[in-house]
């Protein structure tokens, strides 16, 4: 595929293109590597602004970790929103787990959402609730038995390193801590894939590093992660992570060397 973006030079230096190594993957992965996300010739238009995505195709397999990179406005967030089915493509198909954008109805979206975690740059916690309540909320919503909610919430907060702050109000937490709570909430229902839209964008370097480690840990336990970021330093520090680059709505680069649908 034609390289059209200034990211290329940087990525060529930082990431071992042409390496025989497979993309970053979990040791817990099953041998079959089922596809978690599949975009097939996806186009998204916002009239009259024009195309936000243009004929984008790629796969993310179970347990895979991929960066989705590109400039602001290149189509990263649109891609994530389409995968989360907050929006539908103008053309093409998005498949996530067993759900297709062509078939799933608005009423059934909740079934998909329980299989896909989402972490935002702005955390999006409920401000009037504690860290534990924010996490428990995701479990209550999905009908988890009342007796299970508290122990599972504690386990999740422990997993993200925030057990000691369970009772703190969301607004009392630092940015990094709020993002950890958001991650705990996103993984509460054990999703197939975790989508993250610039999750370190509002954090300082140390907090961002901690969040990235957390994503890697979760991925090491088998969870696929697709993380949108324009932080090239972050991408460069993780050379084994697959990189997908979008520019002006087109997928211009895939570090696995296989642009388009496999």
């Amino acid at each position: 595929m034609e390289r059209r973006c200034c990211f290329d030079t940087f990525l060529r230096r930082g990431i071992s293109f042409g390496s025989s190594e497979p993309p970053y993957s979990s040791p817990l992965l099953p041998a079959s590597f089922p596809v978690v996300i599949k975009l097939t010739k996806v186009t998204k238009e916002y009239p009259p602004r024009g195309r936000a995505l243009d004929d984008v195709s790629f796969l993310v397999e179970k347990g895979e970790f991929a960066f989705l990179t590109g400039h602001s406005g290149s189509g990263k967030s649109t891609t994530l929103r389409l995968i989360h089915m907050a929006e539908r493509p103008t053309a093409g198909e998005v498949r996530v787990g067993g759900f297709s954008s062509e078939l799933i109805s608005q009423r059934e979206i909740w079934k998909l959402r329980r299989r896909v975690g989402f972490v935002f740059q702005g955390f999006r916690l409920l401000p009037g609730r504690t860290a534990a309540e924010n996490v428990a909320f995701a479990l209550e919503v999905t009908g988890t038995a009342r007796g299970e909610i508290l122990p599972r919430t504690n386990r999740l907060l422990t997993k993200v390193g925030l057990a000691a702050k369970a009772g703190a109000m969301a607004t009392e937490l630092s940015g990094g801590e709020q993002q950890r709570v958001a991650i705990a909430r996103a993984i509460a229902n054990e999703p197939l894939v975790l989508l993250a839209d610039e999750p370190t964008g509002n954090l300082d370097e140390r907090a961002a590093g901690g969040i990235m480690e957390l994503f890697l840990d979760l991925n090491a336990q088998g969870m696929a992660v697709l993380m949108a970021t324009h932080d090239l330093e972050l991408v460069r520090r993780h050379p084994r992570v697959r990189v997908l680059e979008v520019n002006e709505g087109r997928l211009v680069y895939d570090s696995t060397g296989v642009p388009g649908v496999a």
Partner: protein, 284 residues
């Protein structure tokens, strides 16, 4: 259980917003309540006036009492007739003396009783239209011994027109007030829901079903509406007491109307919440 907990928790978290919503509902329903109070009292006043509508058939002097009694029974069989009372000439004179004490001397000096005997025909509720009254009067006038039938035709016609105008006006105004109240309640609930749109979006993001998201909001809307309804009843009752003491004796609304008002508040709350939340459920 979750619904109750979340609804009450939401009220606890934003008590001012909830109180403002309930107050807006209360003020909207107060207008409806005051209108109901005025309408009900006008209806009662009109009903009291209508109660006095009766047909009087004057009986010729010399009519036999037994043939009058047969007529009494026949008239009583009519659907429109509630009661028929025979008033003899003597009874009429006694009544006149009673009702017009200033003419007692004149009535006492009479050598011959000039007043005729009569049949006083009282009508059933719901049969006091000009047509129904005219029919009864027509039936009574068919008897030979009946000299004249009177029922204040002009007055009855005017009363009937007044009642119809009143019914149309109260229906139109009532609907207009109810519509205004519904819009105000809808806006109040919409603001309350809008203030929590982030929460709705987050619930959608983590996989809540629409029903799961909607239920606490609907219950909260119901509680706000009921609270507003009860507050409106209190305010309407206060207005009733003030009116009773300062203007003239009013009658308080039937309790079925009062309960209906509070329930209407609750239902408006549920409806407004349903419409308000529907928009946000489509967003994410």
């Amino acid at each position: 259980m979750y619904v109750l907990r979340e609804a009450f928790a939401a009220i606890r978290r934003a008590p001012v917003l909830t109180a403002l919503s309930a107050a807006m509902v209360a003020l909207a329903l107060l207008v409806v309540g005051l209108f109901g109070l005025v309408t009900f009292n006008l209806q009662q006043a009109l009903a009291r006036v209508e109660e006095r509508v009766e047909v009087v058939a004057y009986v010729r002097d010399g009519a036999r009492r037994d043939e009058v009694a047969v007529a009494e029974e026949a008239l009583l069989e009519l659907d429109e007739v509630r009661s028929v009372r025979f008033l003899s000439k003597e009874d009429a004179l006694a009544a006149a003396r009673e009702e017009f004490p200033e003419f007692r001397d004149i009535f006492g000096d009479l050598a011959v009783n000039p007043l005729p005997a009569s049949l006083e025909i009282e009508l059933q509720t719901g049969f006091r239209s000009p047509e129904a009254i005219a029919r009864v009067a027509g039936m009574a006038s068919l008897y030979d011994f009946v000299e004249e039938v009177v029922y204040g035709q002009d007055w009855v016609n005017r009363l009937y027109v007044l009642r119809r105008v009143g019914a149309v006006a109260t229906t139109i105004l009532g609907l207009a007030f109810a519509l205004v109240a519904a819009l105000i309640i809808g806006t109040a609930i919409r603001i309350a829901v809008f203030a929590r749109r982030d929460e709705i979006q987050i619930m959608r993001l983590v996989g809540a079903t629409n029903g799961f998201i909607r239920r606490p909001f609907l219950f909260e809307g119901f509680l706000t509406g009921i609270a507003g309804g009860i507050l409106a009843i209190g305010l309407t009752y206060a207005a009733f007491l003030v009116g009773y003491r300062l203007i003239f004796p009013l009658e308080w609304l039937p309790w079925s109307w009062v309960a209906g008002g509070a329930l209407a508040g609750g239902l408006f709350g549920v409806l407004a919440s349903t419409l308000a939340i529907r928009r946000h459920l489509r967003e994410v």
